[in-house]
Amino acid sequence: MDSSFFFGISTMAYILAMIIYMTYLAFKKIQIGITATTVTIIGFISQTLALILRWKEFADLSGMGFLRSAPLTNLYESLIFFVWCLILGYLIIEFKFKNRSFGAFITPIAGLVLAFIDLSGVSKEIQPLVPALKSNWLLAHVTMSFIAYAAFSLSFSTGLMYLIRTTDRRNELSYIFWTITLGIFVVVIIAMGIDLLTFKVKVRPEVFVKSYLFKTSFLNPSSAVKILSWILSMVTLLIIWRYGSILKTVIEKFNITSELLDEITYKSIAIGFPIFTLGGLIFGAIWADQAWGVYWSWDPKETWSLITWFIYAFYLHSRMIRGWRGKKVAVVAVIGFMAVIFTYLGVNLLLSGLHAYGSQ
């Protein structure tokens, strides 16, 4: 049995868990809840096994020793590790706050990421390392960055849920903000899904972005399709805006108070921020100093990490000094996560720079 076998099990477990968590929300039966948690834990354990196995496979293949062979060197491996951190974070929250409803929000993210890996042409091969990645800093820098990313994505989900829960007027700014954010998210996912299903190509992600992304919709050669895509997107946004209150009623059923959501948002950021500073920025700078001879070179990845860091620093300051609570800071948390997504994926797929490893 190799790592891919256990990765397969964990993918299925997370998708199954997603369905069970949703059923749990609908019926509120404790047994269903326990089943959902069990399935998630099974998925988590087999993913952990898979990670260890892949690590070992990598170490055997490269002959570089265990410390330097962390399976965190390309997009596939980093996405897998991201899902692992996310599920770990979720399980901690479930046990700490004794609340399961939240699982219906997290397992779909895990499922989506894993589905993306399978549908797109992200290479699953173990690739030999380029010389710059052969360093003991790889393990510390990349693991800590991803733990922070996972913490930030938790804060994004709770922040978004907070906004959905607490806004009620359709002309309210924070209501418009969350409906548009969610709407764009949905539109992009659907458009990408259509691209993936239409072209059925297995190419490297940056090639996909360059030559295929949105070619079935917004960038279609036929202007009729183009206009239609824009109209449909607008309609989607309008529908989400018009019927956003349905989501609100759903979330109200979760028996999570808005205070708890606000607290989880804050705590995830309060954990993610120092880890991101140390592992992402400081360790990254030390490593860059060793490998490239500059601790800071304003390369796009570095610049975007700094922007992300600024946004979360702003979140923390506005909460501490200004005493902002609730909607205003939740908006900042949501914006912060958009910067995280761009730092992680956007920079590698859209911009060029020294940090090109993550896109292979």
């Binding site: 030999p128 500073t277 490239w292 304003w298 796009p300 920079v347």
Partner: protein
């Protein structure tokens, strides 16, 4: 910020720099310009950025947009004067905001904790009350033990109808934020030291060559005060692929003509001498020298006789104790043989060096063939002789990044300070606790009031455990 009347001009400036609006504006400017800087390629050829702008805004306005951005310094924006000004304003904001709030926080830190009245304690968010069996004198020790085992060094005061214990922990943790802010300034200071007293350059050093300066951009060479020589350069590939596993340069430092240091460097493993660091960054072929290198062969005859040879293209050599001679007649830096058996050069790098040798025995041509450096099976000749292709030396250069940065240790110091500051700011808290014992009908009423600036839930749990142990031990009325 409190409203003061009769503000001086200095106060106004101070308030402006300390205001959150100013912070937001600076932050927004830094972010937006940085984003533009990541989209436009920095220090690139104009054509590259015109192409990027064309893709984003269309062909018609791209050239004029380019002119505007270029005039504003966006093509090398992180080094432009206005970006440096933004960073300076950002530091000024941090300094002034910190100074603005520091007195209040210092007062809070210095302020000694004092006993409280019952009504005051009742107003705390964290407030507990139990009644224990026995008079205050009896339960006193149990209460003081409980507070001690919770990790507090307490002070005690005798009161009219009982006692009061009070204590605080981690009062200096309130300074964590300031340590973090201060660390940003240390880092920026280190960066400035690097800008003023350091340099960044590069040096392409061919195998066998010696240099005493590094280069940066168009300027003249930067003198190194010593000589550096590249003894050898080599690339290791993964298996038989063309993917480099490691590149290595063997360097020697010479001071006044004497060898003082020898080290092989690789990516992630630089060499430092007199504060100047050499990083392995690239490599390539020295132009017009492909045919002038030296072949290093180790020739082994079938009876084990060995000789090491340095040869050039066109040279003839002998296999020891035989009358076989070889003549090097062709060379390829990257040889590949196509389906029809035709040999060709597939890359402009030394990816797969190969030599074509004509062999003769006693003057009669016997056979010819390619010998490849990366394929040891081609070294074996018919008749048990062997020609090991060790290296083709003197045609490659090693690309070194040369840097002197006396500020880097200051930057690291700032990073350490920041880690400590963040740890204190996020994971330590200032906890205060008051426990008052009041006699009530021959029993003791125990009132607990507490505050913390962080993680109230954890502190509350601790207090509840404390109370439950107390009540188990002394018995609740």
């Amino acid at each position: 910020m409190e409203q003061r009347t009769g503000k001086t001009f200095f106060d106004k400036i101070w308030d402006f720099f300390a205001s959150i609006k100013f912070a937001i504006v600076i932050f927004a400017f830094i972010s937006i310009t940085s984003i533009i800087g990541t989209i436009l390629e920095q220090k690139a050829e104009p054509a590259t950025n015109i192409q990027i702008l064309t893709r984003l805004f269309g062909e018609s306005i791209a050239p004029s947009l380019y002119t505007v951005f270029n005039k504003l310094g966006f093509m090398d924006m992180y080094h432009s004067w206005w970006f440096v000004v933004l960073l300076i304003l950002f530091s000024a904001n941090i300094v002034i905001c910190s100074l603005d709030r520091l007195p209040r926080i210092l007062k809070l830190v210095k302020e000694p904790i004092v006993p409280m009245k019952e009504e005051q304690l009742k107003r705390f968010v964290m407030y507990r009350e139990i009644v224990l069996n026995g008079k205050p004198d009896k339960v006193k020790d149990a209460v003081s033990n409980a507070i001690k085992s919770a990790g507090f060094h307490y002070a005690e005061s005798k009161e009219e109808k009982g006692y009061q214990f009070f204590s605080q922990k981690g009062k200096y943790s309130r300074l964590g934020v300031y340590i973090t802010h201060f660390s940003i300034l240390i880092i920026l200071m280190g960066a400035l030291i690097g800008v003023f007293f350091g340099f960044k350059g590069y040096l392409n050093l061919p195998e066998g060559a010696v240099a005493n300066e590094a280069y940066s951009g168009m300027e003249k060479g930067i003198p190194l005060n010593f000589d550096i020589r590249c003894d050898n350069f080599d690339v290791d590939f993964y298996g038989r692929s063309d993917m480099p596993k490691e590149y290595k340069s063997w360097l020697t430092i010479l001071k006044n003509g004497k060898e003082v240091l020898k080290k092989s460097i690789a990516v992630n493993d630089p060499l430092t001498y007199e504060g100047i660091t050499f990083y392995q960054s690239s490599y390539g072929l020295v132009p017009n020298s492909l045919e002038r290198g030296i072949f290093l062969f180790k020739v082994i005859s079938s009876n084990g006789k060995t000789s090491n040879l340095n040869l050039r293209l066109g040279d003839t050599f002998e296999i020891p104790e035989t009358n076989i001679t070889g003549k090097i007649i062709d060379f390829s830096p990257a040889l590949k043989i196509d389906k029809n058996g035709q040999a060709f050069t597939y890359a402009n790098q030394m990816n797969n060096p190969a030599v074509y040798i004509d062999f003769s025995e006693s003057g009669n041509h016997t056979f010819s063939g390619w010998i490849l450096k990366r394929y040891p099976e081609t070294w074996q000749l018919p008749g048990g002789n062997k020609v090991e292709f060790i290296d083709y030396w003197g045609v490659e250069y090693t690309g070194l990044q040369v840097r002197k940065d006396p500020g880097v240790w200051v930057v690291y110091l700032g990073c350490i300070t920041m880690s400590i500051g963040l740890f204190i700011a996020f994971f330590m808290s200032n906890r205060k606790i008051w426990i008052k014992i009041v006699e009530e009908k021959n029993n003791s009423k125990v009132i607990v009031g507490a505050t913390t600036n962080k993680n109230r839930a954890a502190f509350e749990r601790k207090i509840d455990t404390m109370i439950s142990t107390l009540s188990k031990k002394e018995g609740v009325k």
